[in-house]
Structures are given as C-alpha cells and as structure tokens.
C-alpha cells in the first residue's frame, strides 16, 4: 500500500501508528546550514510493515512529499494494492497539491484509493465534507476522518481501503 500526500501531511505518523517495525522517519527537521545542504541530496523513506503470516506481509510505503522526488511516485505506484491520499485538514494551502498528487497517482493506475482527512482532532480542521467539495472528489470516492497518531483511526482508513479493493475486484469479475 502506498501512503501519499503533500509534504508534512502526516504520512510518517500514519505508518508509524500501525507498523510493527520502527518506521524510518522522513522530513527531518533542518536545524543548521550543513543539514540544509544535505537535504538537497538525500531523502528519507517512510517504510512500515505488517506481517500477516509466513507468506504474506503488507508493506506500507510513504512517498516523499517533495516535488523533486516525483519520479518515486510512479515507481511506487506499480504493483501497489491501493493508495491512501493523506491531507492535512488544517492546511488549506496544501489542498491544491493534494489534488495534484491524487490525479497523478490516478493517472498511473486504476488502483482503488481513499482520501484521509488528517488532523481531525485540531480545532481548525476542515471537515471531510468540505474537503470533498474543495478537492472536487467524485461522490464514489471515500473521504475518511483521520487522526494519524491514533491507531484505531489509521486502522479504519486502511480497512476502508481494503473494502474498496474488494469492491473493485467484484466489479472486475462482474
């Protein structure tokens, strides 16, 4: 599964809430000039894992948020089961970017996806309904309230995505 969304949308904490391994942290705080230089050449990955049994492991990949790593989106999109577009509901300035990422991923593959309206525990968070309008989402697209720091909330998003994948398989078969 691919967890995508704009820079600082909450992808790392989303994966970290359910992963059984320590998620490799991304978007490290830049504290000095030397690190700033380094950041121009490196990017961390968000990589989480949920083991089902001996022969099935779910990998969660968080895409780098920065545009200069766009090429990774296409790479990650191939072979994915589905994807979650995480939106920081408190940052309207990132909505346009979220829409662009969503459209880009859709152009790569007709894989099921859901939109997670993150940081719903914040006072100034936009509601999922308002986000649906602003992101011009089709009524069939699920937009789910989310708090990426809370395990149950993340579980709900992943389960809804898996239900969408099942529906997609049913349609494929029909």
């Amino acid at each position: 599964m691919v967890i995508t969304g704009p820079f600082s949308a909450g992808k790392t904490s989303f994966i970290g809430s359910v992963s059984e391994i320590d998620v490799v942290r991304t978007e490290r705080r830049i504290t000095n000039a030397a690190e700033r230089v380094k950041e121009t050449t490196t990017v961390a990955m968000d990589f989480g894992r949920i083991t089902v049994d001996d022969d099935l492991v779910l990998y969660l990949f968080g895409t780098p948020g920065q545009r200069r790593f766009d090429f990774m989106w296409e790479i990650l999109s191939e072979g994915m089961l589905g994807f979650v577009v995480l939106v920081d509901s408190t940052k309207p300035e990132t909505f346009r970017e979220a829409k662009r990422i969503l459209e880009t991923f859709q152009s790569y593959a007709s894989t099921p996806f859901v939109v997670a309206a993150n940081k719903q525990d914040h006072e100034d968070a936009w509601s999922p309904d308002d986000l649906r309008i602003i992101l011009r989402l089709d009524p069939a697209v699920k937009i789910l309230p989310c708090v990426s720091l809370q395990k149950d909330s993340v579980k709900n998003v992943l389960l809804e995505l898996l239900y969408s994948i099942l529906e997609h398989l049913d349609k494929e078969e029909a």
């Binding site: 391994i21 320590d22 990017v43 990955m45 099935l56 990650l76 191939e78 089961l81 898996l162």
Partner: protein, 279 residues
Amino acid sequence: MALKGNLRDFTTTQLFNLIHLAKKTGTLTVTGGQTAHIIFRSGKLVYAETSVQHGRLTQILLSAGKLTSDQSRLIDEKLKGRTDKQLGHRLIQAKLVTQNDIIQSIRQHMLDIVYKLFTWVEGSFQFDNSLQSAETKIMIPIDLEVVIMEGSRRLQESELLMEELPNLEASLRFVDRPDARLRNINLTVEEWRIISYVNPKNTIKKIAEANKLSDFQVRRTVYGMLQAGIVELIPPVGGANGEKPKENIPTQRRIQPPKQSTQERRGVVNRLIDRIRKL
C-alpha cells in the same frame, strides 16, 4: 615512436601519471576484455570510448537521461552520417538539450570509462602521438591529476566492494526483522531507485541495468543499504557462483505484481482485513 606495454608491468595509474607529467598528446589504446581508446591533449584527458561504451553522442545523452530512447533512435535515423560536433550543434539549436547537458554528459561518460580502466589488471596498451577522431568527436578537457586521485581511491574501494559483494547475480529482500538500526536513515535518490526494485526475483545486476548504474555504483549503493540493515542478500540459485534466477525483470520495466487470479487476490485482501482488525 609508440609506447607499448602490458598492464601487469605498468598500471593505469602509472600510465596516466606519465602522460600527465610529460604533458603528452596522443591516443592510448588498451586491449583487455574489451578495447578502450583514451585521447589526451597536452596531458589532459579529452575523450574516451570503449568497444562496449561507444562514444556516439546520442548514446551518451541517452545514458545520461537527457534524451529518450525514441528521441535517440529518431535522431540517429534522421541525422545519420553527421559527426558528433555537427549533431551537438543541431540538438542545441533544436533546444532538445543545452550545451551544458552535452558537456556534463560527455564528461561523465569519459570518467565512467576511465575509472573502470583503473580496475583493469590484464591487457596490453599502446600510446601513439596521433589524435584519432579529433575532428569529429567532442573533446572535453579534464585535468588528469583529479582523475588519478579519484581513480586510485575508487580502485581501493572497488577491491573492498568486490570482496563484500562478489556476485551481482544475488538478489535482495527487505530485512524480515529490522532492528534499531533502521532509525533515521536518509536515502539518496540512487538508493530510492534501488529500493523500488528490491524483490527476490530481481538480481542486483538487473537492478543496475534498469537504473543505468555501473557495477561499481550499484555495489557501493547496495553495500551501504546492507550495512544500514535495510536489505539482505539472497545468494543466487546454485550458490555464490551458481546459475542465474530464472525470472528477471526486463530492462526498463518496473517490478510487476505477481499475476494472481481475482479469487486469489480476494483471499489476500481478506487475510489483510483480518490482520488489520486484530491490530
């Protein structure tokens, strides 16, 4: 008079030192497993090609990612017979590439060849004073001092990497039980690209080909990832020197998901749902 010899008696480093100090002009031809032609002007490296890595401008720009394979093929068809200098002018005029793209791509191409040459231990060489292809090829002067220092450093590193990662027919997989070492790791773009291909079915060799990385580059990157505990090696079928795995990714293709029936996929999704519910 031509300078002739054998790499066993006279290493690439020594040869380059001689050319640099004597400020020689001419063409060095080294014949080992393949043949390399290296041109020098007044002690500076100006051109390099091998029988495997040809110096055709379109191929160099394609390898550098400045042209697509379709563009490269079309240009070769339409501008057949043009020299690289003529071709370069046309490509800049057509705004397909910039002058800097051409310079940097050729420079990198030359350095890739020359650094590889440092690792050759067998082969004969000949240096003569003629400047082969000088009229048609684009020559980019590079100071030999820097090349010699970097070449020697890479040689040492290459020997270490060869010991640590001798067989590129091995595959990679994500570590099953990553420990605390997996914290706060930053990956380079190269590492990211390799990560995207990590799959027991893809040999390291194939990953390098798909990413247009040299053996040295892929060894160095994979070695770093092994040390970081992100991935682990799967020896090739038949042991360290065994046969290749039967399934390999085609070059230029990304990893494809395993082909499963809808029923199988539904089974997988249901197992995932059960697991996530229990989290």
